[in-house]
Amino acid sequence: MSEERALIEELLGEASRLADEAEVFIISGESLSLVQKGESCETAEASCTWGMGIRVIRQGRIGASSTGDPKRWKDCLIAALESSRLSSPQNWGGLPSPIHIEPRAETADPAFILSPLTAARLLREVGKGVARHRSRIAEASVELEESTVTLANTHGLEYTAPHTAATVSCETIVENSTAFEFDQSVHLDLDAARVGEKASFLAEYSLNAVEIPTGNYDVVLSPIAASHLLGGVLVGALSGKNVHAGRSALASLMGKECMSPLLDIYDDPFAKGMGSTDWDAEGVPTKRLDFVCDGVLGAFAYDLRTAYRYGEESTGSAVRAGHAVAPVIGVHNLVFDGERSDVKEERALYVHDVVGAHTANPLSGDLSVELSKAFWIEDGESGTPVRSGMLVGNVFDLLKSVEGLGKESRVVGNAILPELRLSSQRIIGI
């Protein structure tokens, strides 16, 4: 028996004597990263991590703790028991029992190689891509990660999944024009040269930009800008916990058309994305969750705690941002979908990214952000770059004004989305 199996067995055995139920979450892994600033690589870093989160439930009271040291599992269990004494009791229908789950989600690449040589090759490719234009690298990095996630509970559930991830990012500069691009995949199939080339092109392209007069313009958001602007506020508003707690702007809109009829938004845990998984952070089997169909709001996301409390069903939406953070309601792969079209056919302001997306009002969705790498689209082509300006609006209004979805989707963090064309957005310029 492996050391980890023995630890899990001993811990759950002890926990079942002291609590009604218990759950242990272990993540262990290795990562490797190379960071280049300027001409060549400055830093090569490896890490070897291990962490464990415990939850115990006693009479509807949930307690939690975590540690990075397997030898401290008893302290951690005692802290979790103490924590359960202090939390408010609630309706609780139990942690899940094990079932057979047919693996569908691709979480790891079996051929993944965590080697400095691989990372160095990817970094060189970024550099080659950058060299195709005038910009130079301000900072470029490659990170490779391999980990194993294990979830076990006192009902005999024990699931394990391997995870791999490769991330390439590149920040470029030419004169006082900067740009950032990245790519992320479960596989080592990243086109690192393309990341470098795009970042280099964007910085150079934005030189000699012109001002934009204040006005209302059709806007095309890149997948990056769309994800940064919409993701955080929208995921918060779709959380069943926020809906019941009075914190969601979407709370009273179930069954209503509250977004563009062109838009479908769903969580697809089996899509090719960075959040793919067959079971959620509490061991509930995941499934596709249709939040919005043809602009009509159809579902909110629930974990076990919120579902039991409000008489709903878990949607398999519990996520953990690591062993030290208890499960919360989230999304695995948030997909923006719908009929695709050529969103750049007609004149519009293309916005590659924005500065300050996280300062949007998290509840009302009101925002005003500075444009970054914006340019006019004229006759279907990239035209004059725009120097500065502010996009002002509201996340939920932006979702109503979607007029088209671009042909290709890309992965941006936990979102998978295309370019979005929005009608008549307020831009404050000169």
Partner: protein, 443 residues
């Protein structure tokens, strides 16, 4: 066998306690443990780094293995890095008035619950209060003979209240964080303040976007100093050529009353007894009497760039040190608020902060106020919501025309390179000519 030119080990062990009370429900009240170590070895060219959980730096075997791993990784680097010599030395951690470790978790929960309850007034649909307490034992060992350690606790709370009426939703929020001990007693009035603001914001007008004269309150002006000036003065960005302040030492960029400081030695929320490389910390005047004066440095960026002070390297547990701000503020001037309002005449007073962001290479920043007031004929008028400010760093610094004398610091957290560190930012009230304000309101 070849040996590293230098190595250091930084171990951070400790515990974190968190409480979350949401609409009267105690969602969590728990403690967790961490023990993270990072070892850096400087090879012939660059850094090799090895990080691990539950690593024992006193085990000769473990240390040798980690050092070998880090040194061999350094072989994959190409950039030749030098370290500037640094003065070691550690400041005393200020004594806490009341050690939060001595307060039982039950009592913390009951105090937080009382704060949360104070925010439940008419018109409020949700109240939420959270508390965080983090104790870190930091030990830094280096090949230069350093072996220093300290223990420090940071704690604080946030209360937020949500008001809703006819489909409109608004939030008020207050938070206080400290290194000087337990701060959760007798805070009910902050709960009430957050709630009253949330309700008032339901009737607030939307700010009209465009160019206008603005006054920044001490909290938001502090965020301005942090975003617009602080980040651009970080030695790593200057070294990359990714800062509009690069190459501008000595250049005038603002009025002669303008001095902007970063000071990790001040006993504020961003205080560090020594920096993450074990270097002595001290006050750095980034802008001194209107001129660019100094950059913030680690030993590596000081060697590469010069023109500034070492002692500004900070890192999260288990993460490599980066050049970071700590306590960043605009020094006080000589105007009082009435004079600033009068000089403003017509404009907007922006208050509170929802955070900000900067692109230091391009020299653009953005930040969002929690609320604001229209200023008409030199007096504060109606309440405004969702008002933001963006602009060019260099242009905006020249637009600061009056500086108040009411310097205040506020606590927060700053993100860079995936790492979040505690900071404080502050300023007196500032008057800016011709600022670029975002808001949805029309004429």
């Amino acid at each position: 066998m070849a040996e590293p030119r230098y190595y250091d080990i930084r171990q951070v062990r400790g515990s974190v306690t968190q409480i979350d009370i949401d609409n009267g429900i105690v969602e969590r009240g728990d403690s967790s443990f961490f023990d993270e170590t990072i070892l850096r070895a400087l090879g012939d060219r660059g850094w090799g780094i090895f990080c691990a959980d539950a690593f024992d730096p006193d085990s000769a075997g473990a240390r040798r293995d980690a050092l070998e791993k880090a040194f061999s990784l350094a072989g994959y680097t190409g950039e030749h890095l030098e370290l500037a010599p640094a003065e070691h030395g550690m400041l005393d951690v200020p004594a806490m008035k009341e050690d939060p470790g001595d307060v039982h978790l039950d009592e913390k929960i009951s105090l937080l619950a009382s704060l949360e309850k104070a925010a439940r007034i008419d018109g409020i649909v949700n109240t939420r209060a959270s508390y965080i307490e983090r104790t870190e034992h930091v030990r830094i060992i280096s090949s230069e003979g350093l072996d220093s350690e300290y223990r420090m606790t940071r704690c604080g709370f946030t209360i937020s209240a949500v008001a809703r009426r006819n489909g409109l939703i608004q939030m008020g929020r207050e938070s206080r964080h400290s290194i000087l001990g337990f701060n959760l007693r007798h805070q009910e009035e902050l709960g009430l303040k957050a709630a009253e603001r949330a309700v008032a914001l339901l009737d607030a007008r939307e700010a009209k976007g465009g160019r206008t004269r603005v006054i920044l309150d001490p909290e938001l002006a502090g965020v301005f100093a942090h975003e617009a000036v602080g980040h651009a003065s970080e030695g790593d960005l200057v070294k990359e050529g990714n800062s509009v302040l690069a190459g501008r030492i000595g250049e005038r960029i603002g009025v002669k009353e303008l001095t902007i400081v970063d000071d990790p030695s001040q006993k504020e929320f961003g205080f560090e007894p020594m920096d993450a490389e074990g270097s002595r910390v001290k006050r750095t005047e980034i802008i001194s009497r209107g001129r660019v004066n100094a950059y913030l440095h680690s030993r590596e960026t000081a060697a590469a760039v010069g023109g500034g002070d070492i002692g500004h390297a900070r890192g999260m547990p288990g993460e490599p040190p980066l050049v970071r701000m700590s306590n960043t503020f605009v020094e006080k001037g000589d105007s009082n608020l009435d004079e600033i309002l009068e000089a403003c005449g017509e404009g907007i007073l922006l208050k509170g902060s929802r955070g900000g962001q900067v692109d230091p290479g391009r020299g653009f920043f953005q930040f969002n106020a929690e609320y604001g007031f229209a200023i008409e004929k030199g007096e504060m008028g109606c309440l405004l919501r969702d008002v933001s400010l963006s602009g060019e760093i260099l242009r905006t610094l020249h637009q600061i025309v009056l500086i108040g004398k009411d310097l205040e610091l506020h606590q927060g957290y700053c993100g860079k390179g995936g790492q979040t560190v505690p900071v404080s930012d502050g300023s007196p009230h500032l008057l800016l000519e011709d600022a670029f304000v975002g808001g949805k309101g029309a004429d």
